[in-house]
Symmetry: D2
């Protein structure tokens, strides 16, 4: 039996919200069409960029169902089941399967820090109980613990664990993952941060999980393809476009929410969906809105979109 | 209108579990009686020691209802509503009120780190919507953010915010809280870690939220009373007993769970309730069990209980 | 053979500077007289408050010599030999002995982080080679590593290691130290941060190493004595004075230097010595100077000095 | 006036030691010849890999003189002047110039943490006073502070600051540096960790400062050249060799010294120089020595050298 293998651009979808517990259904549909038209290879619902942990369970369930039915099989959908409660993760995984998702993604439990030994036991139990293939998700800035290379190696042997997404931004760690899995095509390795996905794919990564692709899916799709093809000149050109976009658009404020606030407002200003965020974050204030407008104007002038 | 004022020993109850999503109902009742008989001044359900974040919502609701009905008004009950989702916190607060709890406790959202400004906005909205008086809970080792003194000062002016529990273990921070609130009897300041509660109360704290009181409520109740009375000799004697207990019983392993694993197993060995833990933690293994038994024997020999 | 035992108030002297590598000799003499007149029990030269690591070796040697000769045996002098180079530490210790100091103090090497095992080997070799009794100094915010309780216990058995000063501010750690050494009068335990020294001594600490005593030695001396005598009411009164001073004077800016900048400028404004700091820090700018003046005026109005 | 521009492989030399304060002079000469023969483009003396901070000033001066005279102009030599004391940095820089070095490298002061504003002031003063061109060195794991991108941008305008070496391992940070300096050939950007230098140069970095090149200079020189030439297939092959070496040789123990202990012992086993380390680290013990021998045997079998 082969493990699930996804390649290319798998963006983490933002979750459009009319209010803290009210989904922006029309926005979510428009966003889905925008991203599919832009060439994404798969969609990842309820990740960090999707503010999953800030949402009620009710809304999370609703959103998974909506995206799966909107996508209707055009691209694979994977669903974040990261939770501090094991049973809630598994319950959500069953819902995801019922809706038609093809895989699940789980970062470590994020209230109680676990040792590497505890993480191995936890993920083994989670993968045993998960009705869909499971991707590991290394996200230390949010969950406080790191999935060590040796932990990932151990877990990669589990028949229901299909890969790892790394959002640590730790260059040496990612290089070590690529080295250890380069001869194992069944275990996929994905890069999270969009600013460093190009070199990651050049060096062997299977794909990128880039939030900016909510806004500019074509740009990210082109970069991903060029990197997979080893077209270094093209990669440098497109990567530089992404760096410029990141430097221009995301540095709104000191909050960790800066990236998400800018991204969501940019989507609103592009007429796609609401720019609201869920607690503990709030949508851009007036000053931040002006900054995002100025950034988008600068990007427009350089033919982004 | 006066704010809710609780004083003395307010232990964070462990959550007895037959399985990951199955409450140990009989154990929970026995534990409640054990603690009330031991002289606790109030009970705090669904805190960190209660492993709240590892439990399903269903079980959390069941546990709040069970404890409130078992206590039946003999001591005040407060309920932890800490959550990464604002709406889930408020929903649980309404349930707590319906069950008869008198207050709620909330640490900061623990997936997305918030700035101090975002924390002020968040807690203000939470306190506005919370149907019971709210206590702030500073727990940086779990939630990654610190409730700065200036943030607590700002939030203390909210009519529905009644106090702060600090589990940071940061001595200077706590001293600063005591200094700023010493002339404000309406805003309570509690110490979390049991090893440092005695000097905290000596210097003016309103009480202690000590996990060890699940096991030895009389010891902690006596220490709390001696400290509140300024009986320095008695405090030193009882505090030393607590230090010895902590050094003997809690240092099982390198996991953050060490304290909870030992505490829960000791309760099981004392015939009170199950020693199981919820994922990502597991009950003591064989070697750890032997260590806990040896520790309890040593404590028994010194007349603990 | 008994170990060196110092008790009470042992302030870490600031290092008065006319320029980055020029000692303020007259200021240093005045400061020494001010502190001895204020009732200090010993003096600690070249600690963190003394900016030792920012000074050239030449100036460090000059300062040790100057203070020892100025003190002329009126109180014991101990000297910080903390260094990233082992041999430089030992060389400075020999100089300190020659000048008449009675003990040395060493935090861990502060460039390369050492494991607990490496720290034990390092301190053992340092104590073997040190010509004066050695005090351990736990200062994790500057040196990145923590001297664990078990490490201190192991090292306390060395005949030339006489005690430990803790500046971590970690309340549970300090309580554990006090517990483990309460029956060992030969091994001294000192508290660093002045805001938490009063409860530390109440609970059994041997003394305080408080920077604020450069400015207000009488206040700190009185607090130290009241705490050692178990006079709880007096302790609370004096401690509150110290808290107020700290809250009023030290919160100048976001830099870690805030405390030292305010302290040194206050000494300058009191006519004692220069307010200059060594690189990477600078003396107060105009705005900060105004804030320090305002703070001192408020303290004067409340009869500080 | 153009700034100093160095490109390619600039290894940080280890410092061979017969004892803690005794240079292994013959070993240092052999090592120099080994590295020059292996094709290094420049040499960096007294960096982190050189254990500079653990050495006495006397030995640091001796080593700079020895390497400069041994190299005798065959490749440029740059010297680490990182120090917690500003004046000691400048004094060492003058010595380096006198010996014939062409540039200096400075990480931030590493005892007192500085704010970004303080770092800008500090580095500006340092560059003003430094008699040789200065390279910034971002090394947060050792010095606790990060040289933010905006700080580097500000400092890059100083006529005597010629580039930055990043050893943070933070992928996004490095990508941002490359983006901001891609059109500024006068300001060089170097990667520290050898496991991630290949993609760094592919994406535009000017060179690598790789410790492993003490042992295998030809391998690193070939990788550096292939990456600079954009030869992706060759880069992947050589990079994989480096990853394998790193995974096989460096993971001796939990200490931060693991890399340096293995590297120095491997050099000793190759007959080049002593495997001793300076305090707080020690050379490999018996078990670690066996592990290094086994690793070298495995590398030999794969034609490393």
């Amino acid at each position: 039996m082969n493990k699930l293998q996804l390649k290319g651009l798998i963006p983490p979808m933002i979750t459009p919200l009319l209010d803290n517990d009210v989904l922006d259904v029309e926005g979510a549909k428009k966003l889905t069409e925008h991203m599919i038209a832009g060439g994404v290879d798969a969609l990842f619902v309820l990740g960090t960029t999707g503010e999953a942990q800030s949402l009620t369970y009710r809304l999370r369930y609703e959103y998974v169902e909506l995206i799966c039915s909107t996508v209707a099989g055009r691209v694979p959908v994977i669903v974040g089941i990261t939770d501090s409660s094991f049973d809630e993760s598994i319950r959500l995984a069953h819902h995801a399967k019922k809706c038609g998702a093809v895989g699940c993604v789980a970062a470590a439990p994020y209230y109680f820090p676990a040792t590497q030994k505890e993480l191995i036991d936890y993920y083994t139990a989670l993968a045993d109980a998960c009705p869909l293939p499971l991707f590991l998700y290394n996200m230390p800035s949010k969950v406080k613990v790191f999935l060590n290379v040796s932990t990932v190696l151990t877990l990669s042997k589990h028949p229901n664990i299909a890969g790892v997404k790394d959002s640590s931004g730790n260059a040496g760690y990612f290089a070590s993952l690529l080295h250890h899995f380069k001869d194992n095509p069944e275990f996929s390795v994905y890069m999270g941060p969009e600013e460093v996905t190009a070199p990651a794919i050049l060096m062997g990564a299977d794909g990128g999980v880039n939030g900016g692709a909510n806004l500019f899916p074509e740009l990210f799709s082109a970069m991903t393809k060029a990197a997979a093809a080893g077209d270094l000149a093209k990669v440098q050109e497109l990567n530089d476009k992404i760096q410029f976009m990141s430097a221009t658009l995301y540095g709104l404020c000191d909050s960790d929410a800066s990236f998400m606030k800018a991204l969501k407002l940019a989507l609103e200003l592009h007429g796609i969906c609401s720019g609201n965020l869920a607690w503990p974050y709030r949508r851009c204030d007036e000053k931040e809105t002006a900054a995002v407008k100025a950034a988008l104007a600068e990007l427009d002038a350089r033919n982004y979109r």
